[in-house]
Symmetry: C2
Subunit: 345 residues, 2 copies
């Protein structure tokens, strides 16, 4: 019995080798899709920005969502494993928050069907932000009059300070964290000078060798799918003793950890390649230090190809063309506990 994701992945592999002209190259939309249940409003985005950057959402009052998904950088923390409360190191690299609005599921293993559900997780993960419960978060938020006001402005009513509304606001903010207008986007919209000759060569190679079989669509993370669907691939698809000895990719069972379904072993969400030049180290365990090596690994483990140095250089140049325009963001003003300390652990 196969899941829809495995079928989709199989389809992708079947069409892995494409001539560049057959590929439907898509620009990144300049606005992220919004679910019907959580339409964005300026008040909601503003509240979400406060929450996303607020260290009071962690037990020790030091970590915010931004600590691991640094929007001043490329939306991640450039570490193999993120550091949570009490100096605990996470088992998987933090995916970038930028353009996560274009993924149909969240986390490496796709265990959250939406940005809203993703935002719920790390706050109460004992190895991440370490809050005992969202109720404790809500107690803290309610103690700050400016938060009560901001929730009220975003959701109406003073009773609106809740975990559900907090994650809705965070998701609304995250939907503004997109990076359109990369050199690639300009190129596919008609400006043929936007990519260098080498980058165009890399784009062709990217299609011809089969990268685009999985890394398709506007975010290079697979086809655009309804929220909650997920687009997964087995990694490594092709076993390789040398690479395994070097990088230990298979220690992590991937989506199986979330589903306990044997067929999901070593399946991971196909990550976006947007801004990939800025998000080293690479893969779920962050063991690969350079983009060139990551491209080589992908060629071998996913396409069973030994890419030449020239091919790797060209594809890497192309991938650098996926670095987009980051939004200008004004820092939020974080509400205070007036005249008193909050209970940091």
């Amino acid at each position: 019995m196969f899941t829809i994701n495995q079928v989709l992945a199989a389809v992708s592999l079947a069409v892995a080798s494409l001539s560049v002209s057959a590929v439907e190259w898509q620009a990144l939309p300049t606005k992220a899709p919004e679910p019907a249940g959580n339409p964005s409003t300026p008040a909601k985005v503003e509240l979400g920005k406060m929450l996303f950057h607020d260290v009071r959402l962690s037990s020790n009052g030091v970590l915010s969502c931004n600590s691991c998904h640094n929007v001043m950088g490329a939306g991640d923390d450039n570490r193999a494993g993120s550091i949570g409360v009490k100096n605990q190191v996470g088992g998987r690299g933090a995916p970038t928050v930028y353009n996560s609005a274009f993924a149909s599921v969240q986390f490496w293993d796709g265990r959250a069907p939406s940005l809203e559900e993703q935002a719920r997780g790390p706050v109460t993960n004992p190895a991440e932000m370490g809050m005992k419960s969202w109720d404790d978060v809500v107690v803290r938020l309610k103690a700050m009059p400016e938060y009560v006001k901001a929730f009220s402005a975003a959701f109406g009513g003073e009773a609106s300070v809740s975990a559900d509304n907090a994650v809705k606001a965070i998701a609304a903010y995250e939907r503004t964290l997109i990076t359109p207008n990369s050199a690639y986007d300009q190129y596919v919209k008609g400006d043929k000078a936007a990519l260098t000759e080498q980058q165009v060569r890399g784009m062709n190679t990217f299609a011809e060798v089969g990268c685009v079989g999985c890394h398709s669509g506007p975010a290079f993370n697979g086809p655009t799918l309804p929220e909650g669907t997920g687009f997964y691939q087995k990694f490594p698809t092709i076993e390789n003793g040398v690479l395994e000895a070097k990088y230990g990719f298979t220690a992590d069972l991937g989506r199986y950890e979330a589903t306990k379904n044997d067929a999901d072993k070593h399946f991971f969400k196909v990550p976006t390649l947007r801004n990939v030049a800025l998000t080293a180290p690479y893969f779920h365990n962050g063991k690969v230090q350079t983009l060139q090596d990551a491209v080589k690994v992908m060629g071998k483990t996913q396409l069973n190809k030994d890419l030449t140095d020239a091919q790797v250089a060209d594809i890497t140049a192309f991938l650098n063309g996926l670095t987009g325009e980051f939004p200008k963001i004004e820092m939020p003003r974080l509400p205070a506990y007036p005249n008193q300390a909050f209970a940091a652990e």
Copy 2:
């Protein structure tokens, strides 16, 4: 033999009780003073902002200056002791960076004569940001082309990536982190409706009981003095067994730790009261949880007075009038290590 600081402190105590009309109430300037050796420029401030918020200035790539001096809040971390790399907890509370440009020395013990010299410290403190040396910081910075460009724009020449220039840029950014135009400032500039009746009463009490003896000047941290001078006071001045048992203030020898001069034992820099309503917990060891209790403690240990509940409430109301206007700050874009990971510990 007394130091100039002790003489100044003695003078302050001698004039501790002042009628409110005798006090020269000063508004906070809307521009911070700049030392001749480091005039501010937009390019320098922009570079300083990048560095201040850059986690690559810490060994694990997680902590920035902003981690303990959070400019989205009140410029501190609202913790008794800050958390450094490897979850080490600092022995003194992080002073706010806001309006630190109006202090003539930096750190609780005044061991840095300037913002520039202060900025040098935490980066290589093993218990704080944990870099082995500034040389290691410079190696990281030089690996990021956008930093080389930003240093060049600020200081001229590609060879300008250096520790000296980094701390100059950080200090220039910090000189923009000021909060003028509080209700108090509006009041002393002539808007008599800016403070409530209770706040005006508190302002009078603040002067009459003697708080203003030390907390004078535009930043309520003492008289305006040349950079490097320092304005210190002994804390506690008057021993009190009950408070000592409760808060353990004397465990920290204060400025003595920096000078090893017996006369400096338990002397601390007089901290600013600007935004003090937002910077709980209080005092060097962060043991006092509320502003009301802090006011009470000060009355007892510094002025030998048992302030009444009404006096404490009035002074607290007045101190809330010192919360200023925080600058709107656009988040910096942090340079990348293109195509590769940086060596985070």
